[in-house]
């Protein structure tokens, strides 16, 4: 505790002393306060290597705030440095702080030191405690941490590799991925795998190599999920024990000792088939409440279920089933596996399977009905006899048709699987005046024949038109039908139904009703939605069946499966839409009407709703000219069909147009006639006004002269100065051009082969004939060249760069007779056209040798503006060998040129290239023809 060393003075007159005392006291307080912050003592470390938890405990006195510093011992890197509040454990009197390391604690040694803190005041650091890592020099081995770690999917794990003493670190691979690493100490290297994905069945290998890949070490990490059981339910079978079942919603990806373990009501479950998703565990006694706990290294999950035992009985099959069979009845006896079932109220279901029974009588009479087409053909049909009715195996049916009046009888036998026999009554109908034929069917089995079942087939049935057709509305149970009972009627009824779209030998179903019935509900498994059924009620008496009532109905109405057939016509300025009825089969419901739409873009606008089914046309009026799309959709109670769209372009009423044209034509004709008539009448005045007589001219003297074409060709001498065989002074450089006419007069075949396109006019310089004279060129070559070219000095032309080429290839030029040499000489070689090379005045050029070609031939040939050669070829040699005239079509032209500047070296291949370059030649010829 701070103590005041000075007591307040009672002497007010000694104020300086008092002041000093106070100051001293304050100083003492301050000193004491500093002493209070004790340095943490007895720092103890305890590490959990698996969880990477480090527990630090120390004696810290009264302080509650401490600075904790954790460093990597070797590299002195700070891992953790924070101020933490820790309260003292009252029992032990120590402070304790837990820290979780990102890296495994084995990776490298950690130094831990603590100091107390009070506000800004801190104590001295405690002694450094070192948690030794596995990278101490004494532990020379190649190591990897953590080993066999199990982590959930998505976790981040830091692995470290401690390189063997004497080796150098290489790489760390996670599976097949090479990881980035950071150095933790001299031998320890760490890598962090983030967002880990499911490992393979056998985990993922993390392998650390040395730099030479001669040695390695590794670890295995298992990435999975915590357990997630679902659908937990317990049942009993014996009314004593419980069998609980559940499913594992996802595979945890952890197996063996890492796999999920289950306990049911705190008792371990031994699963009979752990590989199946459906798990099962039993408890000897029903406990009412069940708790399932699933645990794996990544977590646990529990589910509960509670129920009374009687609500969860899963009955077992009866045991020891026996029968006592009598003539007309049988007794089934069985036992229960568990005695407790005797007290259980159970519903028992007995299924009789018939296998090999004995005939015990003749079959019942079959239920016979008939179907007649409209041409005296039809079918006699009967329902198959049930097992109960057949009394044994039916061996066949006997069908007899007879008409007592015409003494006709025909009997035929049919196989037992026949249920319809076609009949043709045409002959009987023609002979008989009676209206009916009797059909009798007899079923046969081993014991004998059944009572005959008869049906009277009316021969005039088709003549009877049904009076009214009512609609039958289907309900859940079928078609409910009602009819009026005739009090005098004592006969039975037959209700038959068939698909309305059927016209021939229809599969008809029927039901026979006793007399006195006034309603029935028709049910059949064969009824289908969207199909119209005709339902008829017949009286069944000794006479032929008489149609009493007729219904139509759908089991379920659907939208029509097809649309109407729509056509559009223009009637004056109106559009008439007409369409045809939808076929009955496709209606799939009672049509209620038609909707007529006009479609503008993607939208349909309802024009009209026609509920009158008979009117199948609609007139749209008041439309202006243009394209219209109309859609007609039929609808039933189920909705509209897809509709049919028809387009029509409303055109102007053409009759009027024709009339207008005819009228205007007539008016024009009339006008013309009037004008013609007037002109005729006033023809003298017209002639005088428009065609007055012109007097013939009179010539004095002879003006006749031979006419000739005016030669306006300017003399070339006005532009150029001809130099005949000039004696070239090598010191002078002049620009010479061969005039077109003289160009080919030389002996050289190469020169004569030169195309006419290779010319320059005015300022255009054809590099081929422009050749300066050089002292080192041989006389013979010079003379041969000279003979090949008649040189013309253009007064306005500058020095050609071709001279450079000449100088570059003196050998070639000395062999002027050879085509190669000619190329370089007359074709200009690789030099091409270089008007910008020298820009002196033309007057200076004449008689003056340019020093440049001699001093820097290479530079000159490569430098400067070279529109001919630079655009086309990288290599002048190649260019000279492969250049084509055709390519030159797109070549740049000189500003003042009327002709394309052509790449060099084309002469040699000129003849071969003639077809390909014909276009260019034509083009250049065309241009040449414009020259003066």
């Amino acid at each position: 505790m701070p103590r005041l060393s000075v007591s307040p003075s009672s002497k007010p007159n000694c104020s300086p002393v008092w002041l000093i005392s106070v100051l001293l006291g304050l100083l003492a307080i301050h000193t004491n306060a500093k002493d209070v912050l004790t340095v943490p003592q007895q720092v103890i470390l305890s590490a959990n290597m698996y969880t990477q938890h480090l527990t630090i405990s120390w004696l810290g006195g009264a302080a509650t705030t401490f600075d904790l510093m954790i460093l990597r011992t070797e590299l002195n890197e700070t891992v953790f440095y924070e101020t933490v509040s820790v309260t003292m454990n009252q029992v032990s009197g120590r402070h304790q702080w837990n820290w979780t390391s990102v890296e495994p604690l084995e990776c490298t040694s950690l130094s831990i030191k603590i100091r107390s803190r009070d506000g800004q005041t801190t104590s001295e650091w405690s002694n450094t405690q070192i948690l030794q890592g596995s990278d101490l020099p004494s532990n020379e081995k190649f190591q990897m941490y953590p080993q066999d770690r199990i982590v959930p999917v998505g976790a981040n794990t830091t692995f470290c590799c401690i390189v063997e003493e004497g080796l150098l670190f290489g790489t760390i691979r996670y599976g097949n991925t090479v990881m980035n690493t950071t150095r933790l100490s001299r031998r320890s290297f760490a890598t962090t795998v983030v967002n880990q994905e499911l490992s393979g069945e056998t985990g993922t290998n993390v392998v650390c190599f040395d730099n030479l890949r001669t040695k390695l070490t590794g670890a295995v990490v298992f990435v999975g999920y915590p357990p997630l059981p679902t659908d937990f339910v317990c049942e009993t079978r014996d009314l004593t024990s419980a069998v609980c079942q559940w499913k594992e919603q996802r595979d945890t990806n952890l197996y063996r000792k890492r796999g999920t373990r289950y306990s049911l009501n705190k008792r371990n479950c031994t699963l009979s088939s752990p590989e199946e998703k459906q798990k099962e565990c039993s408890v000897a006694q029903w406990e009412g409440n069940f708790t399932l706990v699933a645990v794996n290294p990544l977590g646990q999950y529990s589910l509960t279920d509670s129920a009374e035992i009687n609500h969860r009985v899963h009955p077992v099959a009866p045991d020891n089933l026996t029968f006592v069979v009598h003539a007309w009845n049988a007794t089934v006896l069985w036992q229960w596996e568990y005695k407790s079932y005797s007290s259980l109220a159970l519903d028992c279901q007995v299924e009789l399977a018939s296998q090999g029974y004995k005939t015990r009588g003749v079959p019942d009479a079959p239920d016979v009905w008939m179907w007649m087409n409209k041409d005296y053909t039809g079918q006699v049909i009967w329902k198959p006899l049930t097992q109960r009715q057949s009394h044994g195996l039916i061996t066949g049916y006997e069908v007899t048709l007879w008409s007592p009046e015409v003494n006709f009888q025909h009997t035929e036998l049919f196989s037992p699987d026949t249920y319809a026999v076609p009949v043709n009554l045409t002959q009987i109908a023609t002979r008989s005046s009676d209206n009916k034929v009797m059909a009798t069917v007899i079923a046969k089995n081993a014991a004998g024949v059944s009572q005959p079942a008869s049906v009277l087939i009316p021969l005039r049935l088709t003549d009877v038109e049904p009076f009214t057709v009512s609609r039958a509305v289907y309900t859940d149970r079928g078609f409910p039908l009602f009819w009026q009972r005739n009090p005098n009627d004592t006969c039975a009824y037959v209700v038959e139904w068939y698909e309305a779209s059927c016209k021939w030998d229809c599969p008809v179903e029927w039901i026979k009703l006793a007399a006195g019935n006034t309603n029935v509900t028709i049910k059949s498994a064969n009824l289908q939605p969207g199909v119209r059924y005709n339902i008829s009620l017949y009286s069944s008496s000794s006479e032929a069946p008489e149609l009493l009532q007729h219904w139509q109905g759908y089991m379920q109405e659907l939208v029509p499966s097809s649309s109407v057939l729509l056509s559009t016509t223009q009637h004056d300025s109106d559009i008439v839409l007409t369409w045809r009825e939808i076929p009955l089969v496709n209606r799939r419901g009672f049509l209620l009407g038609y909707n007529i739409y006009i479609s503008g873009g993607s939208q349909l606008t309802l024009l009209a709703n026609l509920s009158d089914l008979e009117s199948r046309s609609y007139t749209v009026k008041g439309l202006s000219q243009g394209l219209y799309n109309f859609t007609v959709k039929a609808y039933t109670s189920a909705g509209e069909d897809k509709g049919t769209t028809a387009s029509i372009t409303l055109e102007p009423y053409t009759d009027w147009l024709i009339l207008e044209i005819l009228a205007s034509l007539g008016i024009i004709a009339l006008l013309l006639a009037v004008v013609t008539f007037i002109c005729y009448k006033k023809r003298k005045w017209v002639k005088k006004a428009f065609y007055p007589d012109i007097p013939e001219p009179k010539l004095s003297g002879d003006w006749s002269r031979s006419q000739g074409p005016l030669n306006v060709k300017p003399s070339p001498h006005s532009l150029v100065h001809m130099v005949e065989k000039p004696e070239w002074d090598s010191s002078k450089e002049v620009l010479v051009v061969i005039p077109e006419e003289d160009e080919f007069e030389g002996d050289e075949p190469v020169d004569t082969d030169e195309p006419t396109s290779l010319r320059y006019y005015n300022q255009v310089v054809d590099e081929r004939p422009i050749r300066p004279r050089f002292p080192d060129s041989s006389d013979s070559s010079a003379s041969s060249l000279d003979s090949a070219c008649t040189d013309v000095t253009y007064t306005g032309i500058q020095t050609s760069g071709s001279s450079l080429v000449f100088q570059l290839d003196p050998q070639g030029s000395s062999e002027g007779q050879q085509p190669q040499a000619d190329l370089s000489v007359c074709g200009g070689g690789g030099g091409g056209y270089r008007p910008q090379m020298q820009s002196r005045a033309p007057s200076d050029d004449i008689g003056l040798a340019s020093p440049e070609p001699f001093l820097e031939p290479q530079a000159a040939s490569a430098g400067g503006y070279k529109p001919q050669s630079s655009w086309h070829f990288d290599s002048p040699v190649d260019a000279g060998e492969s250049g084509g005239l055709a390519l030159s079509l797109g070549s740049p032209t000189s500003v003042a040129s009327t002709q394309f500047l052509l790449p060099d070296g084309e002469e040699r291949a000129e003849e071969q290239r003639q077809p390909s370059s014909s276009a260019a030649t034509w083009f250049t010829n065309l241009l040449s023809s414009t020259k003066p």
């Binding site: 080993q147 066999d148 001669t214 390695l216 070490t217 670890a219 295995v220 197996y255 063996r256």
Partner: protein
């Protein structure tokens, strides 16, 4: 065609007769058989090693020559002392070395089988690792039988141990990784050992021939 086939079969028979009627002793023939079987087994071991590395270590090119297992026979031997070994010593050593490998394989196979059973691994094609190890064990057993019969031929007092001495190596694998590397070491050493054994049989066969 049939004529050719017949001729070929006849030729084979003839060669077979020549071979069997050759004066080389039965012993040599047996050593040759053992040599062949050793080579076949070695090929199998190499294939399995590759598969093992792929499945367990995730890399077919996995190599670690530095690690050894102390329960496995030593592979390095002095050439002259190896050359000077008597036939009996050679066969005896071979028998027990093979036994040691067999035991290690058995232990590793059971370990893998246990893992697989709990892993519920249903492999669609090819034998599983334990199955492949089983085949190699059968080969080794056959080789051991051959060696044993040779030994009993030399010394009638020799009787093959009725049941293989189950060494049951203690569970020394502390980590999954170590356990996997152990399997690799066993196969790696067995591969090398079978090369040595093949040489043993070649030497024995040549000696018998002389």
């Amino acid at each position: 065609m049939t004529v050719w086939w017949r001729a070929l079969i006849f030729l084979c028979c003839l060669l077979n007769c020549v071979e069997s009627s050759s004066p080389s002793p039965v012993q040599r023939n047996k050593y040759n058989n053992s040599f062949r079987l050793t080579r076949i087994t070695r090929t199998r071991v190499q294939l399995l090693q590759r598969k093992y590395k792929e499945q367990q270590l995730g890399n077919t090119h996995f190599e670690d020559r530095s690690r050894q297992l102390k329960d496995l026979p030593l592979l390095s031997t002095d050439f002259y002392s190896w050359l000077k070994l008597t036939d009996w010593e050679r066969l005896h050593a071979a028998f027990w070395d093979m036994q040691a490998f067999w035991n290690m394989l058995e232990w590793k196979r059971k370990q893998l089988e246990k893992e697989e059973k709990e892993h519920m691994v249903v492999r669609a094609f090819g034998p599983t690792l334990p199955q492949s190890i089983r085949y190699i064990q059968l080969d080794l057993r056959d080789l051991m039988n051959q060696v044993s019969s040779q030994m009993s031929y030399m010394k009638s007092s020799w009787t093959k141990p009725t049941s293989p001495t189950a060494l049951s190596p203690q569970t020394r694998s502390k980590t999954v990784w170590d356990s996997r590397v152990e399997g690799y070491i066993i196969l790696r050493d067995l591969d090398l050992y079978l090369t040595k054994l093949a040489r043993d049989f070649l030497l024995l066969a040549s000696k018998t021939h002389l």
